[in-house]
Point group: C2
Chain length 328, copies 2
């Protein structure tokens, strides 16, 4: 029997249950994907634990990303055929769809092809991270030769941002609290890595930029650290906030913000995937750069679907460098 | 003997002293203005009390605005002639120049002509308020028919923003904590006035905008109220912060900011006056609209120069509606 991961209450990783089910039927505008690999995301940990933007409806499925093969198409679906490979783009509500299972229903608008030089594990590790990171280009207007500070840089989105910055000729300063990740961040393309446990971010940025600061910061942490980020930002620069990992109040650093005319910009992937023009442009950029291997997803670890609880715990450990993938 | 206002230490209004002096000599790139009227600004209260972006150098002069007649020009100055009328644009450091006096030295770049349908009292009440308020057009990109929330709306900049919003066909929601100011704000052109002591800003804005919120907020207060402002802002909207009147920490409302992709934008007038293109455009807009009386400065009260301490105290009382002016 096909398996699906569901949970019946919010809580720690072990609320996730492997359940047996029938192969689902696609409705209008939907397909069934036979899953070859699932990409895990921090958002799913938050959804599971009741800390996401909206709550689960129980029993709840889970998951934004999967790569696989079309197993069935809905009555009106003409753009996809059974047997084609596709990868899910996070562009739906977790209340409506999920990807943790052997066979999952997905809306047609959430599917994209992927370049065939990618394995299934790699193909499920692209859309969330690269389309989110495309915000530095689409919203942050990062230009070649400009510096960007990328915090929590060993996360999949952080690594994707380093790669995208590098691909357009910009210069990434990556931050991590874990000295064991420094070398991996350099290999990933960061020109400079700041170990924020040992080094003063503002001082290092000022030294590197000769006191000017960086025009763009890309930060999923928020919390008290935004003060230093604002100090490290140059006049008329932007701090993009796309998460709340700190789980602590975020003081707005009013004096640098007003005095330097800074922009604090809230951002999520939905700004790109919810805008057809922008999505098309960003998907093409990512597809082309994956194909020519300028972009290359970094996979931290691969788990079996039966070990989904362990995979979620690993996500919460923050030990990983890159994407956590689950396979059937 | 000509008088000049100076202070020798930061502190309350009575640190300001009227001192006698010679008529000053202009250096290269400077003129001497015989002052007909001085416009007071909140920034000067902050500078006087040591709470501004930078500290005074003692003995310190004071003042960003004055209207008057050119009394002398520096050796290389060809664009102004003795006898011409001019009004000062706040575009210099208060550490270098001041306007509180009978004769003051100003840099040529700080002078603009003003339309001759204005009195001297009006002519010193235009550049700070209208050029600051032009941020809603230049930076905030306010469009006709759009709503804007303008806080501390009875301040000179608040009233200027109401008038500018109205002049481009936008719809101003003005806020005040003082019910006695409600009628004056309506007369100034606000389509709606919210008395924030009595009314719930978010509820009123939601009602008026049918739940959408406003695309732009123009706020000099900051502090805890930014939370409500973010809640009242529509998706992809902007909260412009151009002051710190609350004198209290400002929590960054992370969930609405990230979830609605909001922009929190620090802003000062210097972004307009420091950019030659933008300054030219904004000055022309203001000049033309003053000339055709679409814009009209509102003067709260006129003091004598000898009563400068009292004038500063009145500014700090926050009782005024509009500009406080001082004349010789």
């Amino acid at each position: 029997m096909p398996r699906i991961v569901r949970f019946h209450q919010t809580g720690p990783a072990d609320v996730l249950k492997i359940e047996e089910t029938e192969i689902p039927q696609p409705g209008p505008g939907e397909v069934v994907l036979k899953v070859d690999a699932i990409g895990l995301n921090r958002a799913e940990v938050m959804f599971r634990s009741g800390q996401y933007m909206y709550p689960p409806k129980f029993p709840s499925s889970l998951g934004y990303e999967a790569a696989g093969t079309i197993a069935a198409v809905g009555p009106d679906v003409t753009q996809w055929k059974v047997g084609q490979k596709a990868s899910a783009v996070p562009s739906f509500s977790l209340q409506d769809y999920g990807t943790y299972g052997d066979y999952v229903v997905l809306p047609v608008y959430a599917l994209e092809s992927y370049p065939d030089n990618l394995s299934a594990e790699e193909a499920t590790s692209i859309w969330m991270q690269y389309l989110t990171a495309m915000g530095i280009v689409e919203i942050g207007k990062l230009q070649s030769d400009q510096w960007i500070v990328i915090t929590a840089a060993a996360s999949s989105v952080g690594l994707a941002a380093i790669q995208i910055a590098r691909s357009i000729g910009a210069r990434a300063i990556a931050t991590t609290r874990n000295r064991d990740k420094v070398e991996a961040l350099k290999s990933a393309g960061a020109e400079l890595v700041i170990d924020t446990k040992e080094q003063d971010l503002v001082a290092v940025v000022n030294e590197v930029t000769k006191g000017a600061g960086v025009p763009l910061v890309f930060d999923p942490i928020a919390g008290p650290g935004v003060e230093q980020l604002a100090q490290a930002t140059s006049g008329n620069g932007m701090v993009m906030l796309y998460g709340a990992l700190a789980m602590a109040p975020t003081p707005l650093p009013l004096f640098p913000v007003v005095g330097k005319h800074l922009t604090i910009r809230g951002y999520t992937l939905f700004e790109i995937v919810g805008n057809p023009e922008r999505r098309k442009e960003a998907v093409k950029f990512v597809y082309d750069h994956l194909k020519n291997e300028t972009l290359r997803p970094i996979i931290a670890k691969v788990f079996k679907l039966d070990d989904i609880v362990e995979a979620h715990r690993y996500m919460e450990s923050s030990e990983q460098i890159g994407k956590i993938v689950v396979v059937p």
